[in-house]
């Protein structure tokens, strides 16, 4: 496996689909939001992305079955006949931050793939770390093109959560939530990133809820949020177990670390 591959299990006909991303990141906000969305909409998995840029390991799933690290594509067909369909991506991991070229490769493959289904609009979900929270987490929005601010603001009118639009320059969106928009823009796609305020370092159900309230408002959907807390707890437990086992194995495969002293390159 020299580059990322997508295994396609079904090729649905989709109506002007919106592509929604929720991969692991700050507070697992995006991943949790995406999984909840998939569950509540009964979205259907139709493709899996495998990548040599993901961790060289398998996860142990229920009943002792192993699986490669992967990202998964789901689709949802809108029952409303004038409504738009949805493609959702979530998964086990993003490319590690030490491998920028790998990130570009994987995100490029995602965009290639969803283009085949006619995607033009992208919504990325994630967390936005803040030192403290006051009330419900707010959502930070950023768009691919300036004229979209008004477009999304109109759709978000009456949204239950506060959405922040920043006028001043500064800030960065790291990983797929950023790259999908940045690289999509170079392919005439457009979209918005919605990042929920989070204290980070936990599986943050509250931030995920805020983000989902904004996303569903934009899409004109209703979503039951009651199972979100429970899902967060399960996720946290699984994560803990994976990390425990993974850490021990990684350590024993390391080459000896040169001592941390100054030394010349030649």
């Amino acid at each position: 496996m020299k580059e990322s591959v997508i295994h396609v299990y079904e090729r649905p006909q989709l109506r002007d689909p919106v592509f929604i991303e929720g991969l692991p990141g700050i507070g697992l906000v995006g991943k949790l939001a995406a999984e909840h969305l998939i569950q509540e909409l009964n979205a259907v998995k139709f493709a899996e992305l495998y990548s040599p840029h993901f961790m060289h390991q398998v996860l142990i799933k229920k009943n002792s079955v192993v699986e490669l690290m992967k990202n998964e594509f789901y689709y949802w067909k809108n029952p409303n006949e004038n409504g738009r369909d949805i493609i959702i991506i979530t998964g086990d991991q993003q490319v590690p931050p030490t491998d920028s070229p790998g990130h570009f490769e994987v995100v490029g493959k995602m965009l290639d793939f969803v283009s085949e289904f006619g995607v033009r609009e992208i919504i990325t979900m994630g967390g936005y770390q803040v030192p403290e929270l006051q009330g419900e987490p707010r959502v930070l929005a950023a768009v691919t093109h300036e004229e979209l601010v008004e477009y999304y603001q109109k759709k978000l009118e009456g949204c239950q959560v506060e959405v922040i639009w920043r006028e001043d320059e500064g800030g960065a969106i790291v990983g797929a939530a950023g790259l999908l928009l940045g690289m999509g823009k170079l392919r005439s796609m457009f979209g918005v990133s919605l990042l929920g305020e989070s204290l980070g370092y936990i599986v943050d159900a509250k931030a995920a809820k805020s983000v989902l309230l904004a996303v569903t408002k934009i899409l004109g959907l209703e979503l039951d949020m009651t199972a979100l807390e429970e899902r967060a707890k399960e996720t946290e437990e699984i994560l803990r177990k994976v990390q425990e086992m993974q850490r021990a194995m990684l350590e024993q495969q390391m080459p000896p670390a040169p001592e941390e002293e100054d030394r010349g390159y030649l």
Copy 2:
């Protein structure tokens, strides 16, 4: 050398061969088990894998002879005419954990190669770190497909060591022991990973013995375990010498490490 290459010294005709992996990892359990198996079965080396993803060094073997880091393929022809033959891989190292794409490349090459001999079933061996041991090390099992749990449980009936099958999700198998199963699964192969409980950080003959008891039970073989302890000691001594020399050389070829301060990317 731009990608891994396999030098093939012989092309044996094998009968439905099982592919058994035992490469360095936690407690060197897999490597030790594989080497013992090779020795006791008098398995024959028939191919070597070299990779630019291995350490850029040679090892000094007996009588001052140097050799590139490598992995080695052995075969064993079952004297029982209804029995299945075996291919075993072991070697000096795995790709370092900082090079995930390298891991995928090497494991892909291994699978390509053993496919040429008709391999469909894979057994991977390794260690599984635990904080403390009670009695003989147990063996953690994981499979590529759910229906295999029953298949292997039946074969393991009466096995001298306790084999654990986990029902709940969580855990990861890092490196070749995991990837061979995960990537093999994408090629319609199947198999099991057997990880012996180990305190890690030693060359763990006890864990290797437990794993071998499970493997030989599955394969219907008998194996003398008496030489295992001795082999563990030799391995430990060689390792110590290699690391000593290697460390000094690595340090002196390092570029100067930027100081460990916070700084911007631009």
Copy 3:
């Protein structure tokens, strides 16, 4: 995106253009100088370079618009009909220092591109860290070919800042400021690197001014320096915000770091 790409918005006819580089580095001297030059000359952006070797993120610009990390090419047509035109490159970042091959790839692409416009001479700008400053920052010069020392010294006669030419061997110019000259030399290009003394770790308007005084003297241009201080402050503020947000996101996407202990490679 597997390799760096240049999006070209215009193909100006340029007269024997000098290629001037000012990318982020010590004290942001080169970037600040380049941006000031662009602003004061009203240079025109005509191309953008995107690279999978840049950080896998988007920056949030004014009015919540996101953009991929990039480098930008500007041109300036000399109103003096005997004068030479200019191409300037600046941008958000350089390839990180952990990715040497990426640096060579990006700089190779830059040289390919400016060659299309007839560039033969290159001036690179940057900072040169010193422990303390006495008076105005001096400028350290280095050239591609020995005979150029005299050539540039003549052009620099009467320059307001002191330019240092070192006779003894020793020293290195890291990144694009060095590679453009080093790789350019292999393509029969020539040029000079001008590095302003800086205490580093700040956005250094004084060092940028010194460098610009030398560059404009060589080019026979006049430049108003009054806005330079103000620009430095703005840059510093934007930087601070980007880093804050970026750091949190990077941390949460990291794989678990193996513990910092000595361990064998096999």
Copy 4:
């Protein structure tokens, strides 16, 4: 520049040439030995190797002239008409130890190149770190094939320095000094590695002398060693200056380091 390139300035006709390597490593022993050999033999530079795997920087040489990092090939024609000619490689650096695939690529290119001149025998020179020295540094020898031990021992009879041949397994030779032999062996080349005992962390003229005494004994040459000490001092001074400047520049181009805490990969 996507892979290493060799610029060839002359294509000498050589008589069964021996290829001698002395690149930077422990105590700079190999590099110092190679440079001394080149100087004393008046060897002629005929090719340069550039690599995207070397540091992304230029060195400032005498009179402010910059040059890419490189390795250099020299040849020496034996005036004795029955004698064998020599190719020597030395240079500014080796590929950093974090880039194993780069090491394999560069060493592969070297072997391709010297093969064009009929090289079959390789002698690599370097340092071997020891905690303390007793008397003159000894030289550790290792060979590509077992039968060469006797071959080289015979040639080394009467050598002024003690050459050590180890019978027991254990030890590693990192970098070009090891890889040239290991990869050469796969191409039917043969040779010996000669590593001088060194306390490391200095430019070690004594170890270089020991290695040269062994090399010249093997080749049947006489070499004046008086300039070796002086050369070591010069090298040390240049090194110091390069590192000082390089370090500051590297630091400022670093992306922000995620904090050193435990965290999950997903």
